[in-house]
Symmetry: C2
Subunit: 212 residues, 2 copies
DNA sequence: TAGATTGTTAATCGATTAACAATC
DNA sequence: TAGATTGTTAATCGATTAACAATC
């Protein structure tokens, strides 16, 4: 099966932003949005939004704009979040706890189903409804559950090793909170979250003019 | 004061990645790195790395590569993380707790100095060494401390309002964990962290070929 | 000297924007 | 019909890559 046209990752990266903004508008009882309005909310040009969406189909109406609920459905289909993905969480430290209790996954296509750690003190304890399991059982449990997505919230030193084992267990997408670049085979996707990296990206612009 | 040459944000965005990888190499007792090796670690082309670095100066030696400690110092200067920035944290929920106890800021240029929340139950309690203060006192406290950077870990509904107040208090850079786009004036910088967005960006690629 | 790698230029590639016919 | 906004094409803009002289 071949994709008729490859869509660039930069476009894919904007789709979740469109989705989030549109869902917010739905909450505000809005029915219709124009590319212009959506663009204004997101700080993205209207032309860009129309171009991006047009890669996937014709979702709007000339003279009117986009029906929000229809477009939300379409983007959910495109991103395959018109279903709920089970997710494995590795690392039951502070960040792991925060992720496990995060309410934001609920209506956005994800639910944590398995939690692992290697600290004997933590094993068997509960985070929310889920028991912290031994990392040694990870391969078996992930396979059994058929889980494809993992969040990695372990210390930097062990991250690559844990990632390797996750991939062996069938994981295809990793959200990595450890401050290291992971080497992964093709067909496995990684996204990185490192607050220090994000902060360092802003300090460059904090020139003295702003310090007055 | 004018910058002789404007450097694109996409280049700025890669500098913290170079820094992190180089610091890691320092930890591994490495002294010298070539653009090729660094590129391999990061999945970035060697030409790109040389081009990026050359925007800021000539940091390498032909035939040899880059002295890691020298380059680390230079990038720290460029990003202005050759100092420690005080940071205010707003929101003492699970994510706030995780950020407050995160060890990763330590040697990367940041330390949390003030923590705010609006929940009367939390006010006065301690997270690590810091007392949770009333959001009502935010303006005064941030001004007094001269803090320019904030991390925003409050629910979506209140985020824009809190951001407005942070900006009034003199904040110039916001690391936003709330799942909303913030409207901010020019001269204020925002970075976004939303785990659901990152996950949604990967599910697109999780096509059925991978589900076998 | 021979080998390696930088810094930089020119060529390529890709993304964004502007503009407008189509049409609701 | 008049006004508005899409989807799309062509033009512009910017980023990446390839290649190589300079030089350690």
């Amino acid at each position: 099966m071949m994709q008729s046209k490859t869509i660039s990752d930069i476009v894919i990266g904007r789709m979740p932003l469109y989705l989030r903004a549109l869902q917010r508008m739905l909450n505000e009882q809005r029915q219709i949005a124009s590319s212009q309005e959506l663009g204004k909310r997101l700080g993205i040009s209207a032309a860009q939004i129309r171009k991006d969406l047009s890669q996937f189909g014709e979702f709007g109406k000339q003279g009117t704009g986009y029906h929000i609920d229809y477009l939300v459905n379409k983007i959910q289909e495109i991103l395959q979040v018109d279903r709920v993905w089970d997710v494995a969480l590795v690392g039951a430290g502070d960040m792991g706890h925060a992720l496990a209790s995060y309410q934001g996954f609920n209506h956005r296509g994800f639910q944590i189903k398995l939690i692992f750690d290697n600290d004997p003190e933590k094993l068997g304890s509960y985070i929310g409804d889920y028991k912290v399991m031994d990392i040694a059982d990870m391969n078996e449990e992930i396979h059994k559950a058929g889980i494809k997505i993992a969040m990695l919230a372990v210390p930097a030193a062990g991250a690559q090793e844990v990632a390797n084992r996750l991939i062996k267990a069938g994981i295809k997408a990793v959200l990595n909170y450890a401050p290291v670049n992971l080497k992964v085979p093709v067909g496995v996707y990684v996204q990185y979250i490192d607050p220090a990296i994000h902060l360092q990206r802003m300090t460059y612009y904090l020139k003295s003019e702003n310090d007055l």
